[in-house]
Symmetry: C2
Subunit: 354 residues, 2 copies
């Protein structure tokens, strides 16, 4: 593989000195880009795009052609794992994800296999190795997975949910069944992320999109615990390079201290948490990634720049920060505003690393 | 007016001793009750139910007939104020609220009147006085309003929103226009809540449903500041009785210290915050209301009881707690599970007040 020409993202995750703050955007390959929509139309539906390694590579690289980003992230979906477990993922036009089968009973959980990455998720590994090759050392490649709790919400509900009716009834009434499901998911995620690392991912992020729907007690028992199991099972060094792990619980601002204790290298934080306050709470245990409100990108470039400055000031000087949005970029954002965001970080952040 | 026969809700809000922890449920008059659906069908659409003081009174009292609740809450909608400001509130079947007019420009905001409670919200005051009369001192009546920020999100977007595209662009790019809108809303809310208090409301709650969508800095500037203005402008004693004020920001667990400082008597907290932790953070400045995950009501009565016990343990002994859900009760909950919740608080909480 080619030597990495830009390693400031990996260095910041490991809290090593950098020349400026690295920046990338969650969902940076996505519907706000006309070129993404063109490739997506060519692929047909969303899963066909994920399963075609050449097109998945193409959309992964698109935002790098436009903006001076410091990392690429595998183009895929968090629900590939439940799909590989046999639930039959599909997307209705204009709707969220759905499954043909749902997991509701003790037998449903008992019958569920642990996902076999080699056999059933080879298309993801192929996308990873293709992207890594095509990146040619330009920036590092991030692999990712959903968290066990987040995956379980979709598997039990069968679709996106507002009140998590079925999954929470299972969790509250039959915690032992929920733990069995979450353990199977954690083992699946470990195999999946280690597969991505061996295929070329240079850092991995665990997306705990729905951990913030849990009570304080339930978060620790049903989400954080299984992310710890994953972190414990991951390959942390590959091919002579450390593989940093980022943990992102949306709405998890109240639990940063606990999250900082499970052995990840960095925490993603959303915009409801003040960056400087987060830094003082986690100390030197982890790096921090985030956290601009994605809706700031609906404002003017001047406002975007001021908000970037405010967050840089809030974190303060020194390494350990990766600039990002606090959640995925929205589909109606003008790409020129995304540019203003990335360029503001590039232009303003060197002063914090003197 | 009749003497109040059950004042433990008001006493707990003022952190005075009580015999057991008082309990009510946000949205306790609602679609999970078949008798509510029957009255609603009789009224026609949702706003017709709100505007008919006799039917609004009927649905307000329905949950009290079923469960040993310690408070009644006015049946109404938070969007009555924007409607009174001329925006034309309506509800499409199966959809959220909509407005015929939206507020997007400097002129839109400048042209907006402050809501005149007497002239345009008389139907709410009439519902309050009718309910208070019909309650006949059984339990106290809670009046309520949306927070300025929460009302502004609907007025600028014109409907419910996921990304708050327009209202956040206004807030970030033209904060002075947003401040003008929020000030008009705060003045409207003060007049509205004072009208409710004079009509018979014995406590008031400010629902900041969307404050949790803001960054830490923006929350303080665009939501909390205007709730402070409201708290400063409210009648705090009426007819010889203190009128407690409850502040509820959904997703506001990170800001409890700041919320406790604006002069409200109590804070509502959602289930993501641990009750005992919240108590230690706010000290004796405010009482706390909450905070069971509403989705626990999808579990069994036995589980519901255990969760009530856990939260009572977490708060610990002494007054200053009002038991509630962390958000409104979901429409698909079995009323018998709501009963299990209320009865568990009634039966288990006396031990914490010896």
């Amino acid at each position: 593989m080619s030597a990495l020409k830009n390693d400031r993202f990996l260095r910041a995750l490991l809290r090593q000195p950098v020349d400026r703050t690295p920046v990338w955007m969650m969902r940076q390959a996505g519907r706000y880009l006309p070129e993404y929509k063109a490739t997506r139309a060519q692929a047909g539906d969303f899963m066909s795009l994920c399963k075609n390694h050449e097109l998945a590579c193409e959309v992964t690289l698109q935002p790098l052609e436009r903006f001076p980003l410091d990392a690429a992230i595998l183009f895929s979906d968090i629900l590939t794992i439940p799909d590989a477990m046999g639930l039959g993922l599909y997307f209705e036009t204009g709707e969220g994800p759905r499954f043909h089968k749902v997991v509701r009973t003790e037998k449903d959980v008992a019958d569920l296999p642990i996902a076999n990455t080699e056999a059933d998720l080879g298309y993801v590994l192929k996308a990873v190795s293709t992207i890594r090759h095509e990146l040619n050392g330009r920036v590092p490649l991030i692999g990712f997975s959903g968290s066990p709790w987040t995956l379980a919400t979709y598997m039990v509900e069968g679709e996106s949910s507002k009140d998590f009716r079925h999954v929470k009834a299972m969790m509250y009434d039959t915690p032992e069944i929920m733990h069995e499901l979450l353990n199977k998911l954690a083992l699946s995620v470990i195999d999946y992320l280690n597969g991505q690392i061996k295929a070329g991912a240079q850092a991995v992020q665990i997306f705990d999109t729905w951990g913030g729907s849990l009570s304080d007690v339930a978060y620790r028992e049903f989400s954080l615990k299984y992310m710890q199991q994953i972190v414990d099972g991951l390959i942390r060094e590959f091919d002579g390079q450390k593989i940093p792990v980022i943990l992102f619980t949306k709405g998890g601002g109240q639990w940063l201290e606990a999250m900082a204790d499970i052995g990840a290298d960095a925490l993603g934080i959303d915009w409801t948490t003040d960056m400087g306050n987060a830094r003082s709470r986690v100390g030197d245990r982890v790096a921090l990634q985030g956290n601009m409100d994605p809706s700031v990108l609906y404002a003017s470039p001047k406002t975007i720049r001021a908000e970037v400055k405010r967050i840089l000031d809030s974190y303060g000087s020194g390494s350990g920060q990766v600039f990002n949005l606090g959640h995925g970029i929205h589909q109606f954002v003008d790409p020129e505003n995304a540019r203003a965001f990335v360029e503001a970080v590039v232009e303003l952040s060197a002063d914090y690393h003197l």
